[in-house]
């Protein structure tokens, strides 16, 4: 048993005590990277030659971590898991990575994602399908699939992720780990390859709430290069952790959690929701009040379409810089139009092209009001409704997805209509920029399932504390994927 399956605090202590060196940790992480890549195909790049770093009082110093491949990393291939950037080596670091580097954190690999984060299966990256370390016939979900697989498999204690719909929080659930997306703008997006700018968040995947707090502390901070970032220097997430949650008020949404909403519920779904309700009881045991609230079904039903419209519209525009002229493998052609068209036609996967078509369609002058503007209106309504809940409750607690990891075989990005709201409700956290954390809350058929806690903007400390207290009273903290047969 090495160090990479331990918590950040344990590893830090071992480094400080001289039990182990940063160099040895890096060696272990690289070796594990190769093993996990063999099994799960989680990495685009493994940095075999990377050196350890100086150990300081910073909790992250000397410790290896992974970076989702849609973060710009100086001198290191950054592909966004797309053929359009398969040879792109940036000359600057994303601000979040720069912040971690300045703390002495050591990047050891770049992890696979769904192409440019536009997918929820972990199967659309240009290097192939990412497999779930708990069961390689299952998906990791996406888009931070490689990061989730690596952290769950014990390659390192944390990896960066990005989350536009649920891209940190869903794969964390499928891999039995913690996925945390802080308030919009707490971590600078400078250097994160954009998918949908108004929804994109940076965040971390870890094996405990404590590590999530430490990792995000290391990534966050106001950035002159990102006008949507804000100053959080007075917030220290790790030092604010406190499991005293007595008197906190939570709510869950009836229309999402009530099994009666799903007449054709699978056995997995029944178990998942029943388990969730047990966790709700656990919250009450811890002294929290939990109430059931009702949200207009129509509003909830509109939510997945709202996400599709807004995210596709922004994505179409955001990815217009991909022409092959300035970066990326340039295509042949007799005219610039031909070169551009060839590059984009060959480079993007069909799934992405489908989203571009949707994005263009909803922005066309004759469609814009009906689709794009209406989607923005509904987004506002949903955010307003959630903010209304936050006036009365400290956080909303909800189950993640409709059960454990889905099989890779026969998987598609098209989701089951009936359970769509269960699968997609985490996107509301992106609509509002809310702090949102997913933690494992049990097992269904031997595979991990999870719940999510979402709070109001800038209330990250509260959200983390609720998760921290709950995690302490469950058995899934720091769990490493054990292959189930």
């Amino acid at each position: 048993m090495g160090y990479m399956s331990k918590s950040i605090l344990e590893i830090h202590e071992a480094l400080k005590n001289g039990e182990v060196t940063s160099e040895e940790l890096v060696k272990e992480a690289i070796q594990k990277s190769h093993e996990v890549n063999e099994k799960c195909n989680a990495f685009v790049t493994i940095l075999d030659d990377v050196k350890g770093s100086k150990v300081t009082d910073d909790l992250l110093s000397g410790i290896p971590y992974g970076v989702k491949d849609n973060y710009s990393t100086k001198g290191v291939l950054s592909t966004g898991s797309s053929n359009t950037l398969k040879d792109y080596v940036p000359f600057f670091n994303a601000t979040a990575i720069e912040n971690l580097t300045n703390r002495g954190a050591v990047m050891v690999n770049k992890t696979v994602l769904d192409e440019f984060g536009m997918g929820g299966t972990g199967t659309t990256g240009h290097t192939g399908i990412v497999k779930n370390p708990w069961d390689t016939s299952k998906m990791c979900a996406g888009s931070s699939a490689g990061s989730a697989a690596a952290v769950a498999a014990g390659v390192y204690p944390y990896a960066t992720g990005s989350d536009t719909g649920d891209s940190i929080r869903k794969p964390a659930a499928y891999c039995g780990i913690v996925g945390y997306k802080p308030t919009y703008g707490m971590i600078s997006r400078y250097g994160l390859f954009p998918f949908a700018s108004s929804l994109d968040h940076c965040g971390a995947l870890t094996r405990s709430v404590e590590d999530a707090a430490i990792a995000v502390d290391g990534m966050k901070g106001i950035d002159l290069n990102d006008m949507t970032s804000w100053d959080s220097k007075d917030i220290n997430l790790f030092e604010s952790l406190n499991d005293d949650v007595k008197g906190k008020k939570l709510c869950y949404v009836k229309e999402i959690c009530d099994i009666a909403n799903y007449p054709d519920a699978s056995d997995e779904l029944k178990k998942h929701l029943a388990n969730f309700m047990k966790m709700v009881d656990k919250c009450r045991e811890l002294g929290m009040e939990v109430e059931e609230v009702s949200v207009d079904q129509k509003l909830l039903e509109a939510q997945p379409s709202v996400y599709v419209v807004i995210s596709c519209a922004e994505a179409t525009s955001n990815m217009s810089n991909l022409t092959g002229f300035i970066f990326g493998p340039r295509s042949e052609g007799d005219t610039w139009e031909e070169e551009m068209v060839n590059y984009r036609t060959k480079g993007f996967s069909p799934l992405i092209k489908r989203r571009f078509v949707i994005g263009s369609y909803v922005l066309q002058a004759e469609n814009k009001d009906r689709y794009f503007h209406n989607a923005q209106r509904v987004r506002r309504l949903l955010v307003d409704r959630w903010n209304e809940l936050f006036k009365k409750y400290d956080a909303v607690i909800l189950p993640v997805g409709s059960g454990p990891a889905k099989p890779l075989e026969g998987s598609s990005d098209m989701l089951d209509k009936q359970t769509q709201i269960l699968e997609d409700h985490l996107q509301i956290g992106n609509f509002g920029g809310f702090p949102s954390i997913t933690i494992p809350d049990g097992f269904v058929n031997g595979l991990p399932v999870a719940l999510n806690i979402t709070g109001k903007c800038y209330d990250d400390v509260n959200v983390l504390n609720i998760a921290y207290a709950l995690e302490k009273n469950m058995d899934y903290k720091n769990q490493i994927a054990k292959e189930v047969q």
């Binding site: 710009s72 950037l85 400078y190 006008m227 949507t228 525009s317 610039w336 922005l363 002058a365 814009k368």
Partner: protein, 485 residues
């Protein structure tokens, strides 16, 4: 049948007087060296984000105020999406009439051939310039220096009635941009570009009713004021011929291109092929509240513009309207003039020197005022030399010509050329008496009534002083001294 010409203008002017670009930290500096003023965001490297330049906004707001436009409460930017190699992001960050550009619904008074005119401004918006491209036979070169340079686009109502009026309006705008310190507004540097709308309507119809307006023909990319004049005149002629032949009504709304070489406009596309730019609000720039305090402060900081200065020159300095008009035509010339005055130069003399000698020389030598070494201080000193009768005005012209480009001060030139007039009266009195003492016979002749011998005696003073004595002083002194004998 006579027709009324209706011209509307879209004037693009780069804001050249900011340190950095409008959404990027790269220098906003005109240079012949390609691709040196670039930050990653100017080439749209993945993950880069726009950051609004406050100074560019301040200058744009100032222009908005000068144009009597309304300023918005909140500042928004929009994406205008289209593909072109000189547009690295695949969209331009600009502003739309909705929600609110930097200025809306203003008006500007200007003069054309001594006649007062007024044009309504539909809107003024702040946007970024594209890169510039150079098309060769087989390849094209792109220069990203210009990408992201702040650009003000001003859109007028079709209130202009002739090519001359259009040019007079543009010259007024150029003067405003220069005087307000917003832009050099130099079309040689490509800082000004215009689109021109021209249509004809029956002269006797009511122009306030848009139904009576003719078909709008837009002429793109006219890059000089001369071009604007020629393009409008060409289009009036072309459209009049269509009216006469009865084809005008069949003509569809269209976009044409001004071809400088042939002096004609060429069909580009009809309205049905108009590009759908799929505008939407730029999500990376949060909406910015413009405080009334800031707006008030900007209003106070509007510098004195050409008209205001002209009034001062006429009313306070007694300069003719003609000369005052010449003095304010170029801001740098007016600044030169005012500085010379502030350094003690007589306003009328300074005006004469500038309007005749200075501008005449610049014109003859094909120089601009920034090319010369003569400073306002030197002009003031030159004027003083003449006033104090240290040199004659004829000598002064010689000194001026030398100082223009030599880098020498007038005093240096005067000394070098031995031009200094001896104006020290006591010294001249001494020399005069010396001459008289040496020529008792001449005194005798004088006393006999031959007053013209004074000329001889003055000549002797000049000889003794090697020509440096002020001749007027020498003459008056001699006349006095000889009387004393």
């Amino acid at each position: 049948m006579k027709y009324k010409v209706m011209v509307g203008l879209e004037m693009h002017c780069e804001i050249s007087e900011t340190n950095t670009k409008v959404f990027s930290g790269a220098a906003n500096l005109y240079t012949d060296k390609p691709n040196v003023n670039i930050r990653p965001v100017d080439m749209a490297f993945p993950g880069t984000l726009p950051v609004v330049n406050k100074e560019a906004v301040r200058k744009a707001l100032m222009a908005s105020m000068i144009l009597n436009c309304r300023q918005p409460e909140y500042l928004y930017f929009e994406r205008k999406n289209y593909y072109y190699p000189d547009l690295p992001k695949g969209f331009q960050i600009t502003q739309e009439t909705k929600p609110a550009p930097i200025g809306i619904y203003g008006k500007l008074k200007f003069e054309c051939d001594g006649e007062a005119k007024e044009v309504r401004i539909n809107n003024l918006h702040l946007e970024e310039d594209a890169a510039s491209s150079d098309h060769m036979a087989r390849t094209s070169k792109i220069n990203y220096n210009r990408a992201g340079v702040p650009l003000l686009e001003l859109v007028t109502e079709p209130d202009i009635r002739s090519a001359d009026e259009a040019v007079a309006f543009l010259e007024t705008m150029r003067s405003i941009y220069q005087y307000a310190g917003i832009s050099e507004a130099d079309s040689k540097k490509g800082q000004i570009r215009c689109d021109v709308n021209v249509s004809l309507m029956e002269e006797d119809k009511d122009e306030t009713n848009p139904e009576n307006w003719g078909t709008k023909i837009e002429i793109k990319n006219v890059n000089s004021f001369g071009g604007v004049r020629d393009a409008i005149n060409y289009e009036i002629e072309r459209q009049t011929a269509l009216k006469e032949s009865g084809e005008y009504e069949k003509m569809e709304q269209q976009t044409r291109r001004w071809d400088e070489e042939s002096g004609t406009t060429i069909f580009m596309r009809s309205k049905v092929d108009a590009i759908d730019y799929k505008y939407f609000v730029e999500p990376n720039i949060p909406k910015i509240k413009l405080s009334s305090e800031w707006l008030e402060q900007i209003r106070k900081e509007i510098p004195r513009l050409a008209n205001e200065r002209k009034e001062t020159y006429i009313n306070e300095y007694g300069i003719s309207n003609y000369d005052a008009t010449i003095l304010v035509k170029e801001k740098l010339v007016a600044d030169f003039y005012e500085e010379a005055i502030s350094l003690g130069a007589d306003p009328k003399s300074a005006s004469n020197w500038i309007t005749t000698n200075l501008l005449g020389s610049l014109n003859k030598l094909e120089l601009t005022i920034t090319d010369i070494t003569l400073t306002p201080e030197m002009l003031a000193s030159l004027i003083k030399l003449v006033e104090n009768k240290e040199i004659s005005s004829k000598q002064a012209k010689e000194v001026f010509a030398d100082c223009l480009t030599s880098g020498k001060t007038p005093k240096e030139v005067v000394k070098e050329k031995g031009m200094v007039q001896m104006s020290d009266t006591t010294e001249i009195v001494r020399i005069a008496n010396e001459v008289l003492d040496e020529n008792p016979d001449v005194i005798e002749q004088y006393k006999k009534g031959r007053t013209n011998v004074v000329d001889f005696l003055v000549g002797q003073i000049m000889k003794k002083t090697r020509g440096t004595a002020n001749p007027t002083i020498a003459r008056s002194t001699m006349a006095l001294e000889i009387e004393k004998r």
